[in-house]
Symmetry: C2
Subunit: 413 residues, 2 copies
């Protein structure tokens, strides 16, 4: 591109960003988050945070809530808070706050433990639901690694085989030996969105239980768990749900399967009568059956407060803006980044795209370091992927333009 | 007791409490905790909190630390905190802070997940260490229920049998079929302290792996994990370690067993190269092998700050004061409570006593409600147990005298 046309592209894209921001129905949400100026680029505008798909930004009202939990609920009420501050029922209460964001009716989602631990619960329970005759677990070959490791453990402990299959190949791979299929809704590396309705139907057609990992879709796009008949799902709350570092994960068990949910981690919190202190285990009905031990209250109540930002937000609006953001980012990258310098790994078709853009380049690790030094924060996934997440609640189009421009300057230099 | 001798006993015990408090070498620690006046008894002195064996009181400096974690580490540094704020290494760093409190050299304790989840990891790993020939898990028949439920699940998933045995009977019950023995160091209900060295030796003599639950002993008395050759141990951090509601539990794996620790929850945080994102699982060496998924940072760093109160404290001093507190409580109960009104379930012999006193009476639930209304907070364990925990760092002898006196007034009325 000539110098003149570069200037023209720049001013056009800056102008377009302004128009898109002005028309953005979610733009008011940005003020609900803490988004300070980034260090490393003091002369520039505020930093651009495109890593909300790894750790969501801080909702501005959360510190005050956490301070109250620590000072008053723990410090003053102490043990009485289990009842008086609603600590005991927090896992299912917060689950019901997450439920509408993933298309679930109340009473089917419970919060607690890490994603990995919930994958374990879900997968062992799925194998048990499928019954003795089915001797194989099918796992997404492109999965975030922890799901694969945990699936291997679940297979070993339940005496099943494990087979890694590309999501596209699942319909042809499942059969009457398949007990459960564990799939990622959005690929953590490429940002590819998989076809949840079609793959769930394929698992069901084979008589298998469909387990979905929603880590990269919960809070980013409509999931429709109930609508599409998903059996079990897990997801994290510290990415697009902004619950805070290591906030507890969630577990969805479809209502009509709850009585058959046979947890491999039957801790006392999942007992029908947890304070009965009985030596015999008798599982609670409903979502609390997915609980295990004492929940981590500080992290959990920070998450509860963080969920307030979803008040009045429709997931359809989030999805529309998410696609507009990633479309615009790709347009800006094309304008600012020298041709051939990066390769887009994220599908261009909307129906195959999550809320992130992954760009491949050989020196991705080094490029991301330089971007971060200039206030554009994405992340690097070895060996060669630049990953940019777009959180519709707080990322604007001017951010997107600036990030692509800084990327162009960084890789062009 | 006549009215006159009642008055005399009262003044003698009040005076004795004053002398004991004056001579208490740990008395300075009390000021490091938040111990406000209890509601419900505005005319009386500050409330007496005897439930630190369920939820420890708030160390006064913790709120400021948590505020910094939320506002600066999460709010400003965001994703960079995994490295810059030491989030990533927190589980093993905090494990090393707990290690000396349970008699472990560094590098053997890791923090994360709930106690129940850690019992599961430890027990399945123990069965795997014991090898194929051993087909039975022995579990404490008086255990806190969650350990029993989880042991049953571990037995089912590893194809072993489960046998409940009274701790005293363990030496005669274990044999060459025993894979692992899971015992509670202190009985949650009665406060009875079990003989860890002797029972560990008995398990070892049978070739079994000894797994200890330290929930009611960690922070209350010397445990001596390394000294007594314990194989695996788990414990909670929100009781005598004052880590906050639902603070993550800890897992100890003796150094020479770490390479054989084969976790049933091999999440990505326990991978030798967690950011390599490899499909094959390869376990990390050392304590991090006990990790699973992303740790709950808010709860974990609150715990880290809370552990500062142990600076300069010897567990021997804690134990000496703990026994003096429970001795004095029993003395005051004898003086103030009508004979036969309550029955002490806690052993009188020091070597069999933890840091709590359990009193049985038919109307225990009702009695505890009335005690709490008067600012004396213990807890009720169904069907008929009043449980009082004595945390030597912040409970004084005047508290003890007052608690027993209010108890006497409550049950005598």
């Amino acid at each position: 591109m000539s110098e003149l046309s570069e200037v023209s592209a720049l001013s056009e894209l800056v102008e377009k960003a302004q128009k898109l921001d002005a028309a953005d129905e979610l733009r008011g949400k940005r003020a609900e988050f803490v988004l300070d100026a980034a260090p490393g680029d003091p002369a520039g505008p505020a930093g651009v945070y495109l890593d909300g798909n790894s750790l969501g930004a801080l909702p501005a009202h959360v510190p005050e809530k956490v301070a109250d939990v620590v000072r008053r609920q723990w410090g003053e009420l102490r043990i009485r808070s289990w009842e008086e501050s609603g600590w005991w029922t927090a896992p299912e209460r917060i689950g019901d706050r997450i439920a509408p964001l993933v298309g679930a009716a109340p009473g089917q989602v419970v919060v607690g433990d890490s994603t990995s631990v919930n994958v374990f619960k879900a997968l062992v329970a799925a194998v048990r639901m499928a019954g003795e005759g089915r001797d194989e677990i099918v796992v997404d070959a492109t999965t975030f690694p922890t799901d694969g490791y945990i699936a291997e453990s679940a297979a070993r402990l339940t005496g099943r085989g494990l087979r890694a299959v590309l999501p596209d190949d699942v319909p042809g791979a499942v059969g009457d030996r398949t007990a459960a299929v564990l799939l990622n809704h959005v690929d953590y590396r490429t940002g590819r969105l998989h076809d949840l309705p079609r793959l769930t139907a394929a698992a069901h057609a084979a008589g298998a239980v469909a387990v979905w990992d929603l880590c990269h879709s919960a809070g980013a796009l409509p999931v429709g768990l109930d609508e599409h008949g998903v059996d079990l799902a897990v997801g994290c709350t510290y990415k697009y749900l902004n619950g805070g570092p290591g906030a507890p994960a969630f577990l969805y068990v479809r209502r009509d399967l709850q009585d058959r949910f046979d947890s491999p981690l039957p801790g006392w919190n999942s007992h029908a009568e947890p304070f009965g202190m009985r030596p015999e285990y008798r599982p609670a009905p409903g979502a609390p059956r997915g609980r295990v031990g004492t929940p981590d209250i500080l992290s959990m109540l920070a998450l509860e407060a963080a969920l307030d930002v979803w008040e009045g937000v429709s997931m359809e609006a989030v999805r529309a803006k998410s696609l507009a953001l990633t479309d615009f980012f790709l347009e800006c990258v094309e304008a600012y980044v020298p041709p051939g310098r990066v390769e887009c790994l994220t599908p261009l078709r909307h129906e195959e795209r999550g809320s992130q853009v992954a760009l491949r380049c050989d020196d991705a690790g080094d490029v991301m370091k330089r971007l971060i030094a200039r206030g554009v924060v994405g992340d690097f996934r070895p060996p060669d992927v630049l990953r940019f997440g777009f959180t519709p609640l707080y990322v604007g189009f001017a951010d997107v333009e600036r990030a692509a421009r800084v990327l162009g300057e960084t890789v062009g230099a």
